[in-house]
């Protein structure tokens, strides 16, 4: 007996390259996709329908996929919040953490902002070693969806799952969000390490220790450490290392070669969240008594333009903590 599969409906909020890639992936599986962009004229839509009305987007689908830079999340979420209710799910693909706006401005994941600014509880995030251009081109890829609500994972699988897109799931939403954000910072460091000409052995050691450190920091934020050692952490970072064109990696390389951070940002042509995030993560680690020499070095070394040899020495001579 054949049963007609009802088309999933998806609204993508954000018409940047990442939003379009996600929209394309969903459309390729047969989902009915509508993309919201504030400037539809500037969107390279790849055949997707684009609207400039956020209300049209939220009316189009109960599954909303948010793909905007982290600094815009709160504003957009508040706008969406007035248009949706408890039946909607919001899944974001934002690699970043933001301040909670309190006096201490504690770092919180994007899901916390969505929880605060919208009525829905069914919130999730996308991450893992998926690359924008590969996803857009329909190349075989793997993506991770995280949500504490199994029905959110289910609709994401329905809307995006295809032979060319394999979807892994976790209920450790906090873990995936922190891993995605911290990986961005580590990608800069990897670019930097390469730029100053560190050997492959040392870069590998550095990456391994850095992921452990990220896991400790994430744990302090309520994440499960093991999430960092899987696709959302290690996997994502390996993709960053392999990907020459990743903006964070290029930024790191450029700084290592003596370029200024500002020039490097201008060269990347987009905002790189890692720059602002690194010192805040280092401060978070300090506040929560987590040993984080690598993140601290990145925050106060690379971006502060200390000589590379000094930074390497700092890390090489620091106390050895934890098992190998």
């Amino acid at each position: 007996m054949s049963q007609e599969h009802t088309k999933s409906k998806v609204a993508v909020i954000g018409g940047g390259a990442w939003g379009i890639a996600l929209g394309t992936a969903a459309q390729n599986t047969g989902s009915d996709v509508l993309v919201y962009s504030r400037r539809p004229g500037h969107v390279d839509a790849h055949g997707l329908r684009v609207t400039s009305s956020i209300a049209d987007a939220t009316a189009h689908a109960r599954l909303l996929v948010l793909a905007v830079p982290s600094e815009h999340v709160r504003g957009i979420a508040r706008e969406i919040g007035g248009l949706i209710d408890g039946r909607h799910a919001i899944v974001h693909g934002v690699r970043g953490l933001v301040g909670d706006g309190s006096e201490s401005d504690e770092l919180v994941p994007i899901s916390a902002v969505l929880r605060e600014e919208t009525p829905t509880r069914r919130i999730g995030a996308l991450g893992g070693p998926v690359l924008t251009h590969e996803l857009a081109a329909g190349a075989p890829s793997i993506i991770v969806v995280a949500s504490r609500y199994p029905d959110v994972i289910h609709v994401v699988r329905d809307a995006f799952g295809a032979p060319s897109l394999r979807i892994y799931a976790t209920d450790d939403l906090t873990g995936l969000e922190w891993a995605s954000a911290l990986t961005g910072i580590l990608a800069v460091a990897v670019g930097f390490a390469r730029g100053v000409g560190l050997g492959a052995g040392l870069v590998s050691a550095f990456v391994t220790r850095a992921v452990h450190e990220a896991a400790r920091i994430g744990h302090a934020a309520g994440a499960e450490e093991r999430t960092f050692f899987g696709l959302s952490g290690f996997g994502d970072l390996l993709a960053a290392i392999a990907e020459e064109s990743r903006p964070e990696v290029r930024l790191g390389e450029s700084v290592a070669r003596g370029g200024s951070v500002d020039d490097a940002i201008a060269g990347a042509g987009q905002r790189i969240e890692a720059i602002e995030l690194a010192p805040r993560v280092a401060a978070f680690a300090k506040k929560h008594h987590v040993s984080a020499p690598i993140f601290t070095t990145i925050a106060h070394g690379i971006f502060a333009r200390r000589p590379a040899a000094e930074l390497v020495q700092d890390l090489m001579l620091g106390p050895i903590t934890g098992p190998a």
């Binding site: 009802t6 109960r62 919040g81 209710d85 408890g86 039946r87 799910a89 009525p119 609500y149």
Partner: protein, 537 residues
């Protein structure tokens, strides 16, 4: 006052039958459930003296293997019926009327059963006025209104076995309809308490039974009561707070049936359970606060026993000792505001605040329809989804926890214990851990002025917190001087607990029982006011 519980007895038989029907209909693997029940029961009964019951379960265990599918369903039905009948409560309007007419005194009967044996019930009921001592506060008008348009699920903090009668009387004196609740079977051993609980809507929860089938029966019974509009009471802490601290983690297990009931009465095709009404379900967090806790010493002892490992069901504590109950009752009678129940703002099943008409609002104050939370993302139909609801319930738990903190009422005993314990720590060795601290019985004498200064500073911090709406001060704390607070606390603590806790001497105030001080200071630990080293298990 209208409330479905007044018609409980007429529905009882049919309710029990519906519970049985649903549990049997929804059992995926009857054989597995029966085996699990038999395994757990035989294991439990082997160490008890109930040979008949053990024999019964052994026979069941032997017969399971030879059953075919229909035979298994039949045996399942029998077993479920047996448990459902054991759980089901009763509501006797005459008992309720009696209790409400003499409301101000009724509690003292519950508190001091021996008095009943000596004098006639009425004489006692008319004579004393303990319920006057229960100070109730919070958005009572709104809750009263919501009780008319929806079903209320009260989820208060849990400190003492007196909580359910105290809460029942707080409802009564606030002119809120009575509730049904599950009470530990061990409480039914006290004949008078049992008489009242049984006839005022309590159902029996046997905490010794660990098998899945029994849990299903309990959950279904509770869920069906809420579906039928019975206002319910659960203690989501699961057990009395051992440390004396406000609960920071909740097991919303049975209270979660509030959400299940909400979903079930909205399903497009309604399953078993004809008497259900599609109403809103509102959760009302509340705190029950005592100047003195009946079982303080036993509870803190249990708390201090190796963290988490040795937790057991306390069968024998102060609440089974009549002398202790009367002595507490006498103490509470002497003190103004010695017991306070504070209701928090009611929320829907998803933790959204609700207004007087039961409409829900999100954190930004925008109206939101509660039903939409249980609609499927895919097609917008209301669906049952246990995994989804576990998560909703967990988030509701976070909202309840926040409400507990905000609506904790700080009593003189808490404030003075906080200050005294802070001084104890200051006078102790810095290497002293929790256990070393509580062993310092009658070792530290704090100069009077020093203790007074500490009480003043605690009181000042409390006032600040209250201004930020993060705690509530009992009137006896807000307006009192530090000297008065110390006197009140000393008067309360000494003479009720088995040995004196604080004693003023010429050289200062002697801290005689650090353990009891720890217990009372723990109430303010989660607020950051008191030492937090003695609350985690």
């Amino acid at each position: 006052m209208k409330a479905p519980i007044f018609q409980f007895n007429e529905q009882r038989e049919e309710l029990v039958q519906s519970v049985v029907d649903r549990v049997v209909a929804e059992a995926r693997d009857p054989m597995l459930l029966l085996n699990d029940a038999a395994y757990h029961e035989i294991r439990r009964l082997e160490s008890s003296h109930d040979r008949d019951e053990l024999g019964r379960w052994r026979r069941i265990a032997r017969s399971i293997g030879g059953l075919d599918a229909s035979g298994a369903v039949e045996l399942l039905r029998e077993t479920v019926s047996y448990h459902a009948r054991d759980v089901a409560g009763n509501f006797d309007r005459r008992v309720y009327t009696l209790a409400s007419r003499v409301a101000p005194a009724g509690l003292s009967v519950l508190l001091s059963p021996h008095v009943v044996l000596e004098r006639s019930i009425l004489e006692v009921l008319q004579g004393e006025g303990l319920a006057d001592r229960i100070w109730t506060s919070g958005p009572i008008e709104r809750i009263r209104r919501l009780a008319e348009i929806g079903t209320l699920v009260y989820v208060p903090t849990h400190l003492s076995n007196l909580d359910s009668p105290v809460f029942a009387y707080a409802l009564l004196s606030s002119r809120l309809p009575p509730v049904t609740y599950g009470a530990g079977k061990n409480l039914f051993t006290n004949p008078v308490l049992s008489f009242f609980m049984r006839n005022l809507g309590a159902y029996r929860v046997d905490r010794r039974l660990k098998h899945e089938l029994y849990k299903q029966v309990l959950k279904t019974y509770s869920c069906m009561l809420i579906e039928r509009g019975f206002h319910s009471l659960f203690f989501p802490g699961g057990t009395r707070s051992r440390s004396g601290g406000v609960e920071r983690k909740l097991k919303l297990g049975l209270a979660g049936t509030g959400l299940e009931a909400f979903v079930r009465t909205r399903l497009p095709k309604r399953p078993v359970g004809a008497g259900a009404v599609s109403r809103q379900v509102f959760f009302v967090p509340a705190t029950i606060n005592y100047m003195l806790t009946l079982e303080a010493e036993t509870l803190i002892d249990d708390h201090l026993k190796e963290a988490g490992k040795a937790r057991y069901i306390i069968e024998d504590d102060e609440s089974t000792r009549i002398g202790r109950i009367t002595s507490l009752a006498r103490k509470l009678m002497q003190m103004e505001g010695s017991c306070a129940v504070r209701f928090s703002d009611p929320v829907d099943c998803f933790g959204n605040v609700v207004d007087d008409e039961g409409r829900s609002y999100d954190r930004r104050g925008r109206r939101v329809d509660a039903s939409t939370f249980v609609e499927s993302i895919a097609d917008g139909e209301v669906v049952m989804d246990a995994a989804r609801d576990v998560q909703y319930t967990r988030e509701l738990g976070d909202v309840v926890i926040d409400a507990y903190l905000r609506d904790t009422i700080a009593m003189p005993t808490h404030v003075v214990a906080t200050a005294a314990f802070a001084r104890l720590r200051a006078h102790a060795r810095s290497s002293d851990d929790l256990f070393a601290l509580v062993r310092r019985r009658d070792e530290v004498v704090v100069p009077y002025r020093e203790l007074i200064a500490e009480i003043q500073s605690t009181q000042a911090r409390l006032l600040e917190l209250e201004k930020a709406e993060k705690i509530v001060l009992a009137p006896a704390v807000r307006g009192a001087t530090a000297e008065e607070l110390l006197r009140d606390a000393e008067r309360a603590l000494n003479g009720y607990h088995t040995s004196p806790v604080l004693r003023s001497r010429d050289s200062g105030v002697a801290l005689l029982d650090p353990k009891v001080l720890l217990y009372y200071q723990n109430r303010l630990a989660a607020h950051g006011l008191a030492w937090a080293g003695g609350t985690s298990r």
